[in-house]
Symmetry: C3
Subunit: 287 residues, 3 copies
């Protein structure tokens, strides 16, 4: 029986990245559906659950992706509501790669510095930033979320909706009014994660190289200019004056490995639910 992955994608063109990753993880067929919403997915989901019977769902799994994380969460929740005993297939959420990216980075950093009972900072309250913060908290760190300093955003800065989400989730959010303020706010954080927009340097070297107590700095942004001055895309925990640097490509490699491992896992264990927690559990094992 072929391994079939049902790709529920919220964009008009379903993610080619996710489809290729699935094939490379041993999936035989990806059935891709675009413009999927919480409202229009019933036919696709039920049509995929029934033809092979309950046992056949060991070989049919669901993947929720697309560029919009909120829409993906709604699709993920709506799809799961359509599952019922004994029709319980595996399903994974990874809109915009946010779960696998955050999980890969935190799992790498966890091996490089002590997170438990320490302080960690995440710059950026978008999907990747928020998921990073959640995983750091799960590891026992005290987390500070910070918004981008206005001077690096070239007037594009506006109050991100993620701030409210972060505060509702119990995080402290700091809004530095300048790069100088950002630098100062990072002191005392053992791990600093920069989750900024593509092609924008959001953190200067002075924010981490001279900062008291900073042991690891992570950049998620691979497009030039990268997000953190002084961190190369390929830096793989290279040390500079006592700070380990993790660049975007050194996150991307483990992220890719993790994504494939998660897909494999869905077909090994029928009924696997791969939300942020599930993805992170695989990251701790596999990376």
């Amino acid at each position: 029986m072929k391994k079939i992955l049902i790709q529920l994608d919220t964009d008009p063109h379903p993610s080619s990245f996710d489809a290729i990753a699935a094939y490379d993880a041993g999936v035989d067929v990806v059935l891709a559906f675009g413009e999927v919403t919480a409202e229009n997915l019933e036919g696709v989901v039920q049509g995929a659950i029934f033809p092979r019977g309950p046992d056949g769902l060991a070989n049919t799994a669901f993947w929720v992706g697309g560029s919009k994380v909120r829409d993906g969460e709604a699709v993920f929740a709506a799809a799961r509501k359509l599952f019922f005993e004994p029709f319980q297939p595996s399903i994974m959420l990874d809109s915009d790669g946010s779960n696998t990216t955050a999980a890969a980075a935190v799992a790498r950093v966890r091996g490089a510095t002590k997170l438990k009972d320490g302080r960690a900072a995440v710059i950026g309250v978008g999907p990747v930033g928020l998921r990073t913060a959640e995983l750091l908290r799960r590891e026992g760190a005290e987390v500070t979320l910070l918004t981008f300093p206005p001077d690096v955003m070239e007037g594009k800065h506006r109050r991100a909706s993620g701030i409210d989400v972060a505060r509702e989730a119990g995080f402290e959010v700091v809004e530095p009014s300048s790069s100088d303020e950002l630098d100062a706010a990072l002191a005392g954080h053992a791990a600093v994660f920069a989750a900024g927009p593509a092609g924008t340097q959001i953190l200067r070297r002075s924010g981490w190289a001279g900062a008291e107590g900073v042991k690891v700095v992570v950049d998620y942004s691979a497009a030039e200019p990268v997000g953190v001055e002084g961190v190369d895309r390929t830096d793989n925990l290279e040390e500079e004056n006592g700070v380990s640097k993790l660049g975007a490509l050194a996150v991307g490699g483990p992220k890719m490995k993790l994504q494939k491992r998660c897909v494999e896992r869905m077909f090994e264990d029928k009924g696997t639910v791969m939300d942020l927690e599930g993805v992170y559990a695989v990251a701790l094992e596999a990376l």
Copy 2:
């Protein structure tokens, strides 16, 4: 040469059920097209006919599906018009699963009671109901079609357009004004088929358990509450007081088997036309 099935589907998201069933029937590749209409299919159909030459069409077949049966019939007819000697691929119509569902049910019932020269009743004039009626007539039964009694429809009852189609096709259509009238109208029918909407009980136990002459009762509706009181979804011709009961899942299993067999047949015999008649012929062999 890979076996390729061209899925012409009238819905925006082509049926995942049909695609999975095709893969499980040994198809190597399903090329799925959504929002197919009789007007826009020329490019897709001609593009699939020509690249392998006439002989290659042994490995290229067409599947017409989607939730709207009328639209599917139009697509089926329009696609067939584009075939010409010697470019004659196989093609099958099964919008909403109506052909395979009706054929599977009638083929099962045929083994359980004598249809020829007997009377049979079908409640519901939608696609599945109408196809069931056609197959029963083909078996030599005198068929009564009945609409749903208004009291079970909770005000949703309206005159179905299927009534006119049914009458044009030469069927007698009875419109009971209540469940009591429905019960009474079923007397004397050896086989009773309930083709109602999902999650709606359209026939009470009194309509079949006490009815004179009823030998078999069939329910097509798997969602709770099922369509016929006293018929369990898994009833597989279980007998109760002389009446054999066939539940929706006991129709669904053979329907699935039949659907796969029809797909296989299309690739065994180039030029196979699987309309209701073709599907039923396979059902008589395979079920």
Copy 3:
């Protein structure tokens, strides 16, 4: 690692022809995207470039197709702009089959008559006509492009936008006002190509059978009535009174073979760019 072809198609329904040809050329998976434009392809292209790393692009290639050649050219150019070292996958442009069709025909004719320093005529300034003219010029022929004579177009004739494109590309364009004028204009051309609309005879027998110096006549139009009176669709350089006739199906066979060979080539040589020139180079080798 599976061979994956990313089908970037400008039509709502991606070409079934191109997908089937790709599978028959040994591709394992075609990821088809419809309604692709130069503006909306960034996500699809980048998503396909990154997951396998630079070396993995030996097994990921791009195909640009669809019925609109101008749109295809824009998509081809925009996709190539997103490639960068070391992420250089193979990519091919063949909207409406125009590159493979023209290349197959000219390669066939090249073996049948001397093109270098001779004169060649192409009737039709659409995509196939223009590409044919470019390849003939590349072979050293002096090329005349001609528009369709109004009397064969049944009032549908209008000044084609291709005329300006042709003149900008340095071609002489003749606009005959009648079939008689067309006949007269063809004298002295060793090779005559008819690239007319489907089901329309654009050239009479008198245009080639009696014309001085005509050695080969080619018809691209397979639908009845074919484009050139006296040339059968299956004529495979059959000679009639000293003129070799090449019918549309005798172009179509080599075109199909060429298309598959080009796809194979893309997966043999990472970074192959299959524009008209690239396709023609393969045609000279493979046909």
